[in-house]
Amino acid sequence: MRGGGGEYLLHTAYILHRDGVIYDSIAGWNMDASPYYPDTDYAVDLEVR
């Protein structure tokens, strides 16, 4: 999955924001769990492993 995509492992859905923050279907938006750099447009891909 690339740019602006997400991953779906079993029943938890993850959405990657282009600035690095992650939304997951359990906890919602988590501004602290991942590197969030506003307006950088740095994030390309998300993989759940």
């Binding site: 999955m1 029943h11 769990a33 590197p35 740095y42 390309v44 993989e47 492993r49």
Partner: protein, 266 residues
Amino acid sequence: MRRWKSLLGLLLIVGMVLTVQTSVSSANSVVYNATGYWDFKSASTCWAGPGMTPGPPLTGTAQVTQSGSNVTIVYNTYTYTGTVSGSDYTVSRSYLDDGGTTTEWIRVTLTSSFTAFGSDHWQWTDGMYYEWGGCEGAAIKQGYENYAILHRDGAIYNSDTNWNLSPYYPGTAWVADMEFNDSGGYVLLHKDGALWRSSGGWLLTTPPYYPGTDYARALELVANNGYVILHKDGAIYRATTAATGWDTAATHSYPGSNYAVDLELK
């Protein structure tokens, strides 16, 4: 034949129960709180007694509620109750079924606060006949999966180990895609089709590397270190044991269209 009766069958069941008791008696001393939702997936192979057809593997979500040494697991409309011993969880439920009683018991060992493996056994008997079956499987607590974020310059943020700066080329925005393999290694796809492999470094052979083209959009890994690359116009480059080279069939490749965004194998 659905029902099967023999002394051997009874001995097998007794053997399984003894196995359960042995497992419980060697419980891990680590204590967790498993309360929450767990995604589980049973192994591809289940088993059943003679004359029975094993059920299909299951994937689903179970709600676990732990209170001290007591635990309840709810899956669909089924409720299993039981106890906790260290990191070992044993729950069961019984219900009337086809003139007899079916008992299911689930034994799970937590290997961390968010990972577990175990098995589900079922046994049916009407006092004369016996049937049994089960599956092994694994589970992960929702919200606890590890993940990786790919920076456009090649750095990778891992939720468990923080930033990995290999290979990181600041200001280049060279990366098109990232994929992990089953052993935890990873491969990055350059926009020009080159590959960077965590075990092996750069792969700069042509094809699929065409410098200055910015054609590559997505990468998928397959068995035996094979891979597949998606061209921005929909063509597919395969480097697999079955095929090597470009697939430019007109059914999906539209030269100059720049329509293709992502590729998934299923």
